[in-house]
């Protein structure tokens, strides 16, 4: 399956020791493998609900609780989730309790169906019906992927890299839409609608078009649809396909991923540890949800964006630079294991070094080049300064310019456009316009300066990159050392290794939604996704 690849422009090279790079990758694999096994052995309420949604179950009851939650809760109440939701649910359909999942959910909600775990022939029948319906859902996702490819061919792709990525965040989908269209018209290649502050901790996906988010807009299937349609209109108008991004994170990560696939979103924020560290979601829950959501992304042809930038908002960007590298290597391992390809790996990093530090810009170049060198085929996601932004909007505009310059010089794939009002408000319409002007000037005036930049092999920049890589290898060695971390990566997370946040494996939200799979567990979504590759 061919998909657009980003052209890598001429850029400075950094000589890294190949053996060290190989060692870093193999340590990441060693650290990640137990987590993958853990994910394989468990399911979660959200993974199961995602499977129901894939089969086409949408809508919500009068209180706004989605039918997928209603149905799942009823099944769990009756027979538990150890065997997955599909067997009991489809068994009920096979038994003729309802014509489809929607009706079944409604009946379940009023207690007029009881579920059982079908066995033998019943099991086979339920399983085959489940496989058929889930398979139909997967084919809808496949169709959306082909549709994207068609539209890109028809309208053309983003004209150059880095892709210009802009955030919209009014809280009201009907304000977001014109703002997103304005941003696209002004040059954005990617629009991200950030989510209301509270959503990630909701254990359900809200329904319908929404107008009441705080500092972001709820991610709902309808909001996805509305925005994608609006951007399709913009793509037609502008003669280039404008991508749409949202967040597969929080307690509903697998469901959001599924909805993204169904509504043809193009990129999704999807980090292996973000929810753990910054939303205090339970680590097991997160890793299990994450594997499923990445399998869906892989299938849907969605590019993921990881969240290493966040660590540098709580930890120092110089001291913790190597934690970014370690996390990128882990995210890469988890992503590939889930079936994602290199071109889908928008690994994150950020321009967050204290601007008062001498040579701060050269340090940023070193860090950015290191990521570029380590992941040459990934469309790296380069995040703007946030932590050291202040209410001095002029200084903010200046820092963003140097962020843009570093992005251009080091061949980043996706440039999240910084806003001069970072420390004041969620972006205003004019902030985005000014920010795009900044990007355009820098790329146009100095974008090709990378050709003239040749960091000396033993100079300041190369030296710094090597140091960070070495520190990353040391950290990975420590994480995988049974003496220091008997619980491996989970122990390291509990220790505050990433972003200085301490998150023990048995704490955090959503642990009660984690279920160990029983012997006869069945989930046709997982099966089909894993077969599909």
């Amino acid at each position: 399956m061919t998909t657009t690849r980003q052209a890598v422009p001429t850029r400075p090279r950094l000589p890294l020791d190949r053996a060290t790079v190989r060692r870093a990758r193999s340590l990441a694999r060693k650290a990640g493998r137990p987590i993958v096994r853990l994910a394989q052995d468990h399911t979660t309420v959200s993974v199961e609900r995602a499977t129901l949604r894939m089969s086409g179950l949408g809508g919500a009851d009068a209180d706004g609780i989605p039918w997928s939650n209603r149905l799942l809760d009823a099944v769990r109440g009756d027979v538990g989730l150890e065997h997955g939701v599909c067997l009991p649910a489809y068994d009920a359909l096979v038994r003729g309790e309802a014509a489809d999942l929607a009706e079944l959910a409604q009946k379940a909600a009023v207690g007029s169906v009881r579920f059982r775990l079908p066995e033998d022939r019943d099991r086979t029948r339920a399983a085959s019906r489940a496989r058929k319906e889930v398979g139909a859902g997967l084919r809808r996702i496949d169709a959306r992927r082909r549709e994207r490819e068609r539209l890109i061919t028809r309208h053309g792709d983003a004209p150059s890299t880095p892709w210009i990525y802009l955030i919209v965040a009014t809280g009201d989908i009907h304000e977001d839409i014109p703002q997103a269209q304005a941003a696209a018209r002004a040059g954005a290649d990617v629009i991200a609608v950030i989510r209301s502050t509270g959503q990630s901790l909701l254990d359900y996906v809200p329904e319908g078009a929404t107008r009441e988010g705080y500092a972001g807009t709820y991610a709902t299937q309808e909001n996805f649809r509305l925005m994608r349609a609006a951007l399709d209109e913009s793509s037609r108008e502008l003669g280039r396909y404008v991508r749409l991004t949202n967040y597969a994170s929080g307690l509903c990560m697998p469901e959001i991923a599924t909805l993204a696939g169904l509504e043809r979103l193009d990129m999704m924020l999807n980090d292996s540890m973000y929810g753990i560290l910054f939303r205090d979601i339970n680590p097991l829950r997160t890793f299990i949800d994450q594997r499923f959501s990445r399998q869906v992304h892989a299938r849907a042809g969605i590019i993921i964006n990881t969240g290493e930038d966040n660590y540098l908002t709580t930890a120092d960007a110089v001291d913790a630079a190597h934690t970014v590298t370690v996390s990128q290597l882990l995210n890469e391992y988890f992503a590939k294991e889930a079936g994602l390809e290199d071109w889908q790996l928008g690994l994150g990093h950020a321009f967050e070094i204290d601007p008062d530090l001498p040579d701060s810009f050269r340090l940023e170049l070193a860090h950015a080049l290191l990521a570029r060198e380590l992941f040459p085929d990934a469309p790296l996601k380069w995040m703007p300064p946030t932590r050291h932004m202040t209410g001095d909007i002029f200084r903010g505009y200046l820092l963003d310019a140097f962020f843009n310059l570093a992005g251009a010089l080091t061949g980043q794939g996706i440039l999240l456009v910084g806003m001069m009002t970072e420390a004041v408000v969620t972006p205003w319409l004019s902030d985005r316009d000014l920010a795009l002007q900044n990007v355009r000037y820098v790329l146009n005036a100095a974008g090709r300066l990378g050709e003239d930049l040749h960091p000396a092999p033993d100079g300041f920049i190369a030296e710094r990159a090597r140091t960070v890589l070495d520190e990353a290898v040391d950290l990975l060695t420590a994480i995988t050392d049974r003496e220091q971390h008997p619980g491996g990566l989970l122990d390291a997370i509990a220790d505050g290794t990433f972003g200085l946040m301490r998150r023990p494996a048995d704490k955090g939200r959503g642990l009660d939604g984690v279920v160990r799979k029983a012997e006869g567990y069945l989930n046709p979504a997982t099966t089909l996704l894993e077969e599909g590759r």
Binding site: G198, D280, T426, L429
Partner: protein
């Protein structure tokens, strides 16, 4: 010398810079509309230095001009520090003397706010701007509940810990989230505690107006750039005052003594 004007390059010139967007297409009329707004803001003469269409429906303006307003510095009411700044040592001593137990602080980010860096800057040992945080004070017991704490949870913790003070951080301000959440929190505490037993309510965050405590129903508001030492000193001053029966009060100090 209490009356001043903005200063561009000459004393009294009154010069200011303004920028805004109007939901109008760019035209001479919308430039005129921008000037009208500037005039309503008191700028006269005003100059549209820059007008940039942003799509067909919006125009961004940069306007320069002279305002005639006088700023009466004498009339400015600010929340000045009305307590002595103490070192951690002094603070510990004062608590030990007045309370004969540790002063209990419960803190967190309420609502859906997950910005913990600010409250951590105040509470964690590591501190902020070179000052150690409240956990560093031997006589302070700090319970940091972290992010996205619901108001009922917070009230419950405060009760369980017998908190002397509750410290709440609010960073997200879009649609006045910080104000709504603070009011809700204050109301819940007023409901849950009798007046004299209610813990001291303190909110903080970079976009709060420090003069707004009363309107929000809290005891104190801390803004941008607060340091842990200021907060500790404030807590000591207030809680110690509460526990020092020498000061005349219209209420009987009975409940105080029992705490």
């Amino acid at each position: 010398m209490t009356l001043v004007r903005p200063y561009g390059d000459t004393t009294g010139d009154g010069m200011v810079q303004v920028s805004f967007t109007l939901p109008l297409p760019h035209s001479k009329t919308s430039e005129g509309a921008a000037l009208q707004l500037a005039q309503k803001m008191g700028m006269e003469p005003a100059l549209v230095a820059h007008a940039k269409p942003m799509g067909p429906e919006f125009t961004f303006f940069v306007v320069y001009g002279r305002v005639s307003h006088l700023v009466d510095v004498g009339a400015v009411r600010v929340v000045e520090r009305d307590y002595p700044l103490l070192t951690p040592k002094e603070a510990n001593l004062a608590i030990r003397k007045a309370l004969r137990r540790r002063l209990v602080v419960v803190g967190g980010c309420i609502g859906t706010d997950a910005h913990t860096v600010g409250i951590d800057a105040i509470l964690n040992v590591k501190g902020w701007a070179g000052e150690k945080g409240l956990e560093y004070y031997r006589e302070l017991k700090v319970v940091n509940l972290g992010a996205q704490v619901s108001v009922p949870e917070l009230v419950e913790s405060a009760r369980a810990e017998k908190a002397d003070a509750v410290l709440v951080s609010q960073v997200v301000t879009q649609r006045d989230a910080h104000l709504h959440n603070t009011r809700e929190m204050a109301a819940a505490f007023r409901e849950a505690f009798p007046p004299r037993r209610r813990p001291l309510l303190v909110v903080g965050g970079p976009r709060f107006d420090e003069a707004g405590a009363e309107a929000l129903g809290v005891d104190r508001v801390f803004g941008r750039g607060t340091t842990p030492g200021e907060v500790a000193s404030y807590l000591v001053a207030r809680v110690v005052a509460r526990h020092t029966p020498t000061r005349p009060t219209t209420q009987t100090p009975s409940t105080e003594a029992s705490r």
